[in-house]
Amino acid sequence: MITSHVHRDRWISVAVFLTLAAIWQVLSMVYTAEAQPGEPMIAGWQVLFTNTFLAMSDYWQGGFGVPAVADGAARSYPAAFLAVASHSIDTIGRLAIGLAVGGAAGLLFGLAVSWSRWTRRLFDWPLQFLRTLPLLAMVPLFQLWFGTYFLGEVLFVAYGIGVIVFAGTVNAVRNVPQIYIDNARSLGASRWTLCRTIVLPAIFPAMRSTILLSLGAGWSAVLGAEYLGAQSGLGYIIVYAQQFAYLDRMFFIALLFIVYTSISYWAIGRLSARWLAWAPPSQRR
């Protein structure tokens, strides 16, 4: 019964996406206004996979035996492919390093603050305030502090993720049932053992939603960092495409983003579900 439902739902979602794609195609044929000559406001699929993809080779810097368009070469599919791949790698690399640094720092600070009820109260308000500040509105500040270099971009992503992980950790530790801690204490566990064997496993189920949340913030942050000054990455392509109103290129990158974010959510969801196989279902939030 349930499996047939899942099966049916999968077919429906495929149909929904196909319908959306068809609607887009129809829109592109009905609404043929152009943002500028040769650049349709709504680019049909036949344009996206030929002209638009070829245009990506403009962003290839040259190398691997494929010359750059800037050096006078004609647009070519290998160059377009290499351009998309290299800019994607730049963006994903920034995201990955930011996730690692921010996640580790957030977790460590969160555990440190959760050391006792006193420290938790002491850090409560400043933490709440930092969480209220809109992350993306802080891009100008980070740009000012760290310039538009790699360090600044990674630090910005790490800050965005760190604040969420930090708050999530503090919240999760607060929700660890007191009886677990009391039990271990009365059996003579030290603070360190308590942290390693009780607190860390106990907060992990609650951290799952925090991790997914911080992934979303991470994607936003890495784009935000690239928006304001980076010289490579998918965000850089969008910024340049927007300046010349190349809507088809923007749409192409947006599609790439949908694919990447969906894959990342799916991967993290699967991974955390596997790590959480031991936890009772009610705890897997």
Binding site: H5, R8, D9, I12, S13, V16, F17, L20, A35, M41, W118, R121, L122, F123, D124, W125, P126, Q128, F129, T132, L133, P134, L135, L136, A137, M138, P140, L141, Q143, L144, W145, G216, W219, S220, L223, G224, Y227, G235, I238, Q242, A245, L247, M250, F251, I253, A254, F257, I258, T261, S262, Y265
Partner: protein
């Protein structure tokens, strides 16, 4: 038969003493000390760094107070309202419009999807995909399609509010124990009666919780949408100040935005607790 425990009816209204205790719990001295510590660390950091990198906390607060009613410098950069107050109102209006429209659509879609499997199968994949699109990817399209102005910023925030409230409304209605609706039906309730007496009272508290989360996030999104293209609003002010390399102004504006979001959230929390009095979750 009443579901309200008898002691609730006979409980005396809170005395002055307990009110004072609640006030003390809100203004926890240790929490206040945390704020003081935060400001102190900031102050110490400014000693080693030039003001162009990190302004002093006092300077930021003074700047906020001075610019709140009148900041003539802003008009030189092309901001319509030459004060922070007017821009904050502009942003708040957009947030309010977007939250109202977005929550109506999101709640209706969420509740329907929780009761009709086919609707859920159709909307779920769209919402899941829409929810993963980073706002900065969506924003440029709206700016080109709808132009630089109120519409594109509001659309962006509506889009985001719909996704959040869809998820919250759907979860609230799905998690509702079917036993309530079944026994109401057994006792002869009409579908409209079930919606009025069971579905709405049971889901409103959780949906209001989602509304608070959406509201908190909407401020930041509205600001970023304005930062990308607008004639006024807090985001426009931030963009202008960033262009002028003015960290003191940026921090003062961010401080104002944060304070506004906190005040609105506190009011919303109070209103939610008032509206959903019957729920255990809102206490």
């Amino acid at each position: 038969m009443t579901l309200v425990a008898p002691d609730v009816l006979t409980r005396p209204s809170p005395s002055l003493l307990s009110r004072a205790r609640i006030l003390l719990a809100i203004l926890d001295p240790l929490r206040l000390a945390g704020v003081v510590l935060f400001v102190l660390v900031w102050q110490v950091l400014t000693l080693g760094l030039p003001a162009i990198i990190l302004p002093t906390p006092r300077g930021v607060v003074e700047r906020l107070v001075a610019d709140f009613w009148s900041a003539p410098a802003l008009s030189y950069y092309g901001v319509e309202e030459a004060n922070l107050y007017g821009n904050l109102i502009y942003t708040a209006e957009n947030v309010a419009i977007a939250v109202v429209i977005g929550s109506v659509i999101g709640i209706l879609a969420g509740l329907l999807s929780a009761r009709f499997g086919i609707i859920r199968a159709i909307i779920d994949p769209v919402m899941m995909t829409a929810g993963t699109v980073p706002i900065l990817v969506a924003a440029p399209f709206l700016l080109i399609w709808f132009g630089v102005g109120r519409a594109s910023a509001v659309c962006l925030v509506i889009f985001y509010v719909i996704v959040i409230l869809y998820l919250f409304a759907q979860r609230a209605a799905t998690n509702l124990d079917p036993v309530y609706e079944e026994s109401a039906r057994t006792l002869g309730a009409t579908p409209a009666g079930i919606v009025r007496d069971i579905l709405i009272p049971a889901t409103v508290p959780e949906i209001l919780g989602g509304l608070r989360i959406a509201l908190a996030g909407a401020w930041g999104l509205e600001a970023i949408a304005e930062l990308l293209g607008s004639q006024s609003g807090v985001g426009k002010v931030l963009e202008v100040l960033a262009g002028a390399t003015d960290p003191q102004g940026i921090m003062a504006t961010l401080l104002m935005l944060g304070l506004a979001a906190i005040v609105v959230d506190a009011v919303a929390a109070f209103a939610v607790a008032r509206t959903a009095k019957w729920s255990a979750a809102s206490r």
